[in-house]
Symmetry: C2
């Protein structure tokens, strides 16, 4: 996916470059100095830009943005960098958010920084889909497909396949950025997520064995093949073949032989999506048959909100930290 000219970098960067050269005499546009300056701009655009930085529990909470060659859009992600990085790189825990969310929800609502600061963990919270001018959205503007609903896979169907490449972005491009820009020990990574992001944490860790030493989920979509949210997303992004869907369904992946070392799941019993969309019993059954140690905690009276996540995020971060500091 090498990109050699500004015009290939997508509409946002193209616009910026065109604007920058508008005032130049036509003759100078062909000169090497101009080309060199343009390339410097392109490279600067590709590096993460700090949107915000705030001190938080002795560390720093950042929001970055960068141009993604994978999704062909500007992407944002949040990163909490704990103070332990003064002594060297620290383990990384990824948090994948649910439908309608951005990189911001977990960052401002979960209260996870307090625990990450204690345990010396970096937290990375990416956005849930590509965004921007020209990125297609659900034709009816529904919340469960398109913008804010990337489902952590690479779409194969038009018009989604061009931008909706969240798996490649999260498994290749963003980790490379994180490794280059932040004091992260990429040999020690864990992943967790909520709802659609719980599905993401499960499927990405099953599809990329060895990448994540620890996995957990809050109210995950256990089997997208068997619920309306998932059927709409998999059908839209991957087409009608249920064989293709199996590669992005945690339960089917486990049935087909993928494995995890262990798994912690919290699920609220008052979650309005429990019976129709989440179906933790399917994950319990798949893990039981496969011999995957699953701790499934049904939390009495909790719903699907970030108040539920905030209540139990400490347990999850300790679950991840235990594998990094044996």
């Amino acid at each position: 996916m090498a990109r050699s000219s500004c015009a290939e970098l997508g509409s946002e960067n193209t616009k910026r470059c065109l604007h920058d050269t508008e005032g130049l005499p036509a003759g100078r546009l062909a000169g090497y100095a101009w080309y060199q300056r343009l390339m410097e701009k392109v490279m600067a655009d590709a590096a993460p830009e700090t949107v915000s930085a705030a001190r938080c529990f002795g560390g720093t909470q950042y929001t970055f943005q960068h141009f993604s060659q994978t999704t062909d859009t500007t992407m944002r992600f949040a990163a909490f960098v704990p103070s332990q990085t003064a002594a060297g790189p620290v383990p990384v825990v990824w948090f994948l958010a649910g439908l309608t969310c951005t990189e911001e929800n977990f960052t401002v609502k979960a209260g996870a920084q307090r625990v990450a600061a204690e345990l010396g963990l970096m937290l990375i919270a990416p956005d849930t889909s590509p965004r921007g001018d020209g990125v297609p959205d659900d034709p009816d503007g529904a919340y469960d497909f398109g913008l804010g609903a990337g489902f952590y896979l690479d779409a194969t169907e038009p018009p989604w396949a061009r931008n909706y490449r969240m798996e490649s972005y999260l498994m290749r491009e963003l980790p490379a950025f994180v490794a280059r820009a932040l004091p992260a020990d990429m040999k020690r990574q864990g992943i967790m997520g909520h709802s659609m992001g719980g599905h993401g944490a499960l499927t990405l860790s099953l599809r990329h064995p060895g990448r994540f030493a620890s996995v957990s989920a809050f109210a995950p979509i256990a089997s997208p093949m068997n619920c309306p949210w998932g059927q709409k997303a998999l059908g839209g992004y991957l087409g009608p073949s249920r064989a293709a869907w199996r590669g992005h369904d945690a339960c089917a992946l486990i049935e087909d032989g993928a494995r995890l070392p262990a798994l912690l799941v919290d699920q609220g019993t008052a979650d309005g999506f429990l019976a129709t969309q989440l179906k933790p019993e399917l994950l319990e059954s798949a893990c039981a048959k496969a011999g995957i140690p699953l701790i499934m905690r049904r939390q009495m009276g909790y719903d699907h909100s970030y108040f539920f996540i905030a209540t139990f995020v400490e347990d999850h971060l300790r679950w991840h930290a235990r594998v990094f500091s044996p």
Copy 2:
């Protein structure tokens, strides 16, 4: 301020009542049964209505709304009710938010419920101004006056005096609602706030001695008479007389003899409003002269955001709890 008919209850309720009677034959509108039904509706409208409720750290996080006779608008407030209420009423800590905020910011961003759940404290977070159709706003739509910027006082100037009566709302009407609707021990109350809400916590506790057993603030506006935010607000709501302003300026109140038992303040050194708007040195000077024990903590590198509040809210809640459980 007794209200005797539906039409006096303000535009929102009026609309609802008119709509409800539209289909009735004109003759029936004069009957007593209709009047009785209407009064029942008015009473129901005046009681807090549950907007949302979610289990959180073993307790419940509520958002309520009710029609306020004081502000002549529908007002929202958030309430965290800890599990200790099963054994009886618990102390209440009020949190007053800053410019642009609603009842939601502290509730979703500060992570305070974890500590309140441990200490058995109820948290009440009101909105920062009246809102709704017909409530006047800053003529230029600025963020620092009008909607989201009530400054916790009763305005005396038109057109603000009709709705902008946050002091009366917070000191009389809302506590009455809380006492009636929730398991709150109103003999044990503390108050804290952020920025404009820090100003509110300081001035309300100074103006109502004995009401709050404990007071603390995050980055408070120490002396609104001596900063642009405060001068605009006091001039707008109270008119040009600086004598009237002194009654709503923490430092002037202390100079004029008002007292607090003790005070905890956190202030970030990287707060962009520190030198121009907040001026903690004025509060230090006033407290020193008056002999008020002030713990002023300058927190290195912290800014004005909720990441700063989240980092130190545990210390503040323990500060409040210590006076309730000696």
